[in-house]
Symmetry: D2
Subunit: 341 residues, 4 copies
């Protein structure tokens, strides 16, 4: 069985495991206050060109999302996001469990626009009953989105600008950020993201680490006491050094970018191969998630040998499936898959 | 200035004030454990033909909604409702503040259908990742809806049936229930509601009382320890007898139904009058809320003498306004309004 | 049966009912934005000598407590209070249900000291693991306390000072404030309280109103968007004018102070009478709650004719009971009670 | 610098790292639904002699605590525990952030008794105002406690019995369970714990794993939908197999018990050595945490070479420090430390 279900079917990049092995019997203090975490923070500040940013390491994406959101908002404030946004559909109501409404906006290809945000903001504040309505205070976007698409630099700049005008925090979920940065044709860099967002995170779990997300806070107003929030929400890893060691290695010699590029090459191989065979795509994705339309018959046949994610029904006879590549995807597996399609 | 803004622009029906005056210096115990509350509970059980129901008196509608919902659900469970449902749009995220996601469904004229509920249920449980998605466990409907429309008995029965099949609680928000029961053409009675819902409330605030909502719980599984929830959520009125006295009077000699009928007569007078003058309606409402389309120019003129609620923009030159009648609406005011339209 | 159980066994002071009757059929807008509420706010600012304070009317005390606390605190912050404080023992965990830990301090006679607060603050911030511990950020005191005792002006000033030094908000629960201000020997005035607290409330429910608490916010940092919190937490009364009318009357011609004085006179009559008969007191209260030690035998006998609150066991044969007077207590009832003791 | 600060100063037991390395490039599905997790669940059921138990793997202890507690309780229910319990003091109010009050009981040496539990239960239900008070519904104990002490089998049985009688859930925090099971003189076994508790967890983080806690649910009433709770609270590790692989190895060939025994041997070496030198202990601990009283002068000297945890002030000139051993503690380090004391 070869799995294309997700971007976390393997463990960690071998270089990361090596470093964990090497440092295993060293003694360090806990909770992210060790030297590895400190060095990893420095490395991330450098690669983000954000020397004043606060960097915190959390274990997973859902945890990162609700910790950031509940730290930033007052009880009556909500977060605008695409209806297809991860926090709105795939986190079992984790943000609501922290007391905040997720304000879903209709999204084309997983993305929302500066215009939509402005419109929601105006709608709220012009309503005579606005005190009866959740106050939008944060914008959550995923880059890449849950549908594999990317924002352009111009789109991000427009969103940034409207957020600044409206006093909204811009929060970017970068669970798959590496794959976005390595995508063909993107004009968005990590320093762009650091410059345009108030807070964001760089995903490790899906890009080479065993686990881990690096939350980067650039807005000084969001920095105070964030570690209390991490602890309260269950995200403060006792052996915090595990996160430091991993992120330090990911950002040494450009490993993060290099392995992301590999995943994209494999995704493009898959995409072009399927296109050549006449398959149509549900979404034109330039990143590591590919959404292909297949007949239900074909799907049944695929599943005998390959793991894929069922995305949604397309029509009576067709389904949309998601195929993921990652840092670990083997070219031979992609070719084997293509040969059977 | 004459107000048609809402159904709570006046105090209470004179009979209610009289009873409050009469009983004012009597001494009673607090928190709803007095004899007036007990008698009022009996009266409500009788009129609902639900001898085994638990009845609790709360102060307001938002409070009733989040107290009922948070009492019934586990943390990961959510409540299905119309996108236009009060809990989804006009309660400042009160349900989310209790930790639960409101699962809004597209709604035609403020109503949802048994089919939609079934579909959401099936969608949830057939999803391979359902543990990552909020579990639908309750259905919230308003009757009348926020747009003045009503469910038919057949619709309620269908919703009841699908809820029973799917193990979902059916919760009916009856903030304006009196006006629904008195509407022309409705085939839904209070005993029907008691028979078909697991829990619902009978609104007093908008139908003759100073304030107060009577929560009726018919599902034995939802009864335990509900008073703890009331207290925790701030809904346990110290002088609980104020609620008992009011509801007892509302359900003595059919006062509740009689004053509701008056409101509907006034609403129909308004509706027919406006229709006769050529106005169009945003929604075909048979209850006490009427949604009329007016030019912005006309609106400005109306507002010099009358209070109305701005509902939403209709097109570039027209707006939708809401006009409410109530138990207290004077015919002369309706006629005066019509004469100027 | 004559009740001394609580200070809310009757309805409202007749003057208040009269005003409700008089204004009953006037039309006003809802949610506290009417002219009565506005005038009542002015009256309260005046009597507090706090011209810049924000004043909000809520329905009940538990609601006022959790709304204020959850509006002021971030998720990881807690509220210091006496172990016997109302929020710690008698609100069914309402503050915790909003996500905040109540940090109970051992309390002599229901009161905490500036020294205790300072000590807790220092203990927190000197702890190497302080991020693992709830951060104290607010101090909650009741005046009068749940045990009928009062702070002196010097004690309040010391608490105020330590709060200011430590960046803690001082929140005073004045559910029975009138009875505290009218107590013999107190040197604390309403302007003192307004000057020394960041936020407090003036209780109406227990002092002449049908219901209602007036929250006064003097700290500008706590003012923003408080009405969103009120709505979300279920405290925004639709017919808000009921609160405005009541508080306006309470603060017209000194009614609030006058009826409070009556309650205290009745309490002192009770206290002196019981003392003269040799009864001992669990607490030396100068306000409207009196805590008397009686034999269990005597208690059984009392309860045949009088309602009292069981406070706690004193020893094997004795219990502590609480007797409350109020604006409505009749002298003849006090004398009747004394004659049987 | 040699660290005795905590039991998580190193990475993982070498056998665990080896297994992670070996399985690193295998493809598995995520979220704990892989074969390693399944086998680890079987191994834990076997060692607990609880063939019907549900086993779930979470990342950390705070997370395990609030996930279990918030899954089991309704909003108005609280959890009884020792005042010194981890959930009460060192989790930044995580349980309260989920809405539940922690009901701290005075605790001798970190332990509570069946009598105390019974008393609290009776106190609650005999109170006339019990609906105004948080309802005790769960008992939380730590074994070993935060002070290194252990319950005897008789004590656990008594607590179990009172919980059963009162309808309370018994939840045991076993973050350091291995060290408790290996302690000299204990008569409590893992099957005892499984038999006597409704839910508990076996700590991995502090006993040889990189991270991870195995939650074991034996009470069928607590099993339903627990995975939704894990996901919502951020505890569902994407690469769940990391937890499966680790726990499978820990419970292969008795590794967990063997390394726990080593930690205890080191702790006893430390304890006896210090005793022999005349040091006194704050607590008579038979597990891996030792609480020693030292002069402040001595403490300053120790800290030049050794990491220790400051526990609390003992008197003006003395402090209590905590020394931890673990599976990774080297005998030479213990001897070096002793030689300088």
């Amino acid at each position: 069985m070869i799995l294309f279900n997700s971007d976390y079917t393997e463990g960690a990049h071998p270089r990361i495991l090596e470093r964990l092995l090497e440092t295993n019997m060293e003694q360090t203090v806990g909770y992210g206050e060790d030297a590895y975490c400190e060095k990893a923070r420095e490395a991330i500040r450098a690669v983000c060109e954000a020397p004043d940013a606060d960097v915190h390491f959390l274990v997973g994406g859902t945890q990162a999302n609700f910790t950031v959101i509940s730290s930033a908002l007052r009880t009556f404030q909500g977060v605008l996001c695409a209806e297809s946004g991860h926090i709105n559909v795939h986190e079992t109501g984790a943000v609501e469990a922290c007391g905040h409404k997720v304000l879903g906006l209709p999204a084309k290809e997983g993305k929302i626009t500066a215009e939509q945000i402005r419109q929601q903001y105006d709608l709220h504040w012009s309503d005579e009953s606005h005190e009866h309505i959740v106050q939008p205070k944060m914008v959550y976007i995923s880059h890449p989105t849950e549908l594999g698409t990317l924002y352009t630099k111009a789109e991000l700049e427009a969103i940034h600008e409207v957020c600044e005008q409206c006093g909204l925090y811009l929060f970017l979920d970068g669970a798959r950020m590496g794959y976005g940065l390595a995508a063909p044709g993107t004009d968005v860099t990590l320093p762009d993201i650091a410059r345009l967002c108030d807070v964001f995170y760089i995903g490790g779990t899906k890009v080479g680490a065993l686990f881990g997300e690096a939350v980067v806070i650039t807005n000084p107003g969001l920095k105070a006491d964030f570690r209390y929030c991490i602890k309260q929400k269950g995200g403060m890893l006792a052996k915090g050094r595990l996160l430091g060691v991993q992120f330090l290695e990911l950002f040494r010699d450009g490993l993060y970018f290099e392995i992301s590029k590999h995943a994209i090459q494999m995704a493009m191989l898959l995409k072009e191969g399927l296109k050549a065979k006449g398959y149509e795509f549900f979404m034109d994705s330039v990143t590591n998630q590919q959404f292909v339309i297949v007949t239900d018959e074909k799907l049944a046949q695929i599943r005998e040998k390959y793991g894929v994610t069922y995305q949604q029904r397309y029509d009576e006879k067709h389904s949309v499936i998601r195929l993921c590549t990652s840092w670990a995807t083997k070219e031979e597996n992609v070719r084997a898959f293509l040969s059977e399609m």
